[in-house]
Symmetry: D2
């Protein structure tokens, strides 16, 4: 998988920095490589369910945007990525201090890219998503 | 679809009130009926994508919890609901002042309940989710 | 939803007639309208699970192709449709003489179309699918 | 992942042998290990799409049943597995002589098990499924 944009690392960092909902949640980029994006999130009480576990919506939003970051490593400078759908399975309850998400492009494409994203709480795999990203021309983010 | 718990309306209201992430997002219960839950969310800048549209993660988190509310109308007093998976399709960009989510039980069950949730921005259907909820005994929320 | 191809009814009939796997299963077109396709399948022992119920794979293949038929009612003469993904929930066991599938376009598009397909056994809704169809130029079927 | 049934290999072979739709398609068990099932299918004209590629419904039915086989390696003698839902992404067109499917349990459970299944045509990964299997007591297949 070869990035079309040599500045793909900066671009993915910017994709998170300019997104209010990611800043609001507190999701931070940890690593970027061709077809790969990793993020972390320091958990706070507001991220939780009524039972003290991380809300599924927090893990899913993080996984979705990190999947977009992984797809975003491969697109051209004038292209953007847009989630068209995803399926997510919640495998285990998430309780801890921090989430880590690792998203990897499963199938790159010129119009559609399929990405998998795993969310870990500590060493535990808590959820796994498969997402379809549309590659949109003329919309750089 | 007949609720096992006569206090099901109060219970669904409480399900949102006690969940920090729903309070943090600003999701509010608008209507509750057997097998049905409706919620609204007044949009703020922090809910947005980099392009000014509502972040998919906001719509998905709202739909997921509202689906849980719909499933929660049918369970017994000592039972809780837990999302095991969902699939969501993002149909149109969401731009506006408010989201409305309507979740309806498609198939009630004693161990698994399948729920559909539609999210509207104004009159526009922006996303649709199908979720599986596990019915868990001894965990009332 | 307005068909671009005035011969859309013939085209959907042909889409089933020329597909060996649909003929092999025995899926037959019952009705076609803009954005809608209905099919039926007379059940035979070879369509079953070990327990006498219809195999999920039969219902899913029927729903997938019928969803393609619904999307196919809206495309131009030189365009084809291709399933990129679907999610399907199996709601109830299917036992009976015949399956009926009704697929409806949820969101038409120029590059992607989202379709819902419901499968009934008698009066019972046994499964529901949401599928993404890519619209491919220069590939009429 | 430890099988509860020491005869799990025989059991998975039987799960395919007694299922009319799997015999009808021609799906054959190639390997069985705890949490893992592999199958193959020699392609025939009846398995195809109108364009000569393998019909998505063939790959999905094979993946679904092979996922059931993987879950079936872990259950007790008096338990059966039942697909409640799956999501499948079709990554590349499948053209060739043979499909191979490899299913692996992602998260074993006492009531629900999540399984991933990959389908290859030659060396090419053509589709990937994530399925939820319900563990049903008193229904050995």
């Amino acid at each position: 998988m070869t990035p079309k944009n040599p500045a793909f690392v900066d671009r993915v960092h910017k994709l998170f920095a300019v997104t209010p909902f990611m800043s609001d949640l507190g999701v931070v980029v940890a690593a970027v490589a061709p077809g790969v994006c990793e993020t972390t999130l320091e958990l706070q009480p507001r991220h939780l369910q009524q039972n003290g576990f991380v809300h599924a919506g927090v893990a899913a939003a993080m996984a979705d945007h990190t999947a977009g970051g992984a797809a975003g490593t491969l697109v051209a400078e004038d292209e953007g990525v847009l989630t068209t759908e995803y399926s997510v399975h919640f495998l285990r309850a998430a309780k801890g201090d921090r989430l880590l998400c690792r998203a990897t492009v499963l199938k790159p494409g010129t119009t559609l890219t399929v990405v998998e994203a795993e969310v870990f709480c500590g060493e535990v795999l808590v959820s796994k998503m498969t997402a379809t990203m549309a590659i949109v021309r003329g919309v750089p983010y």
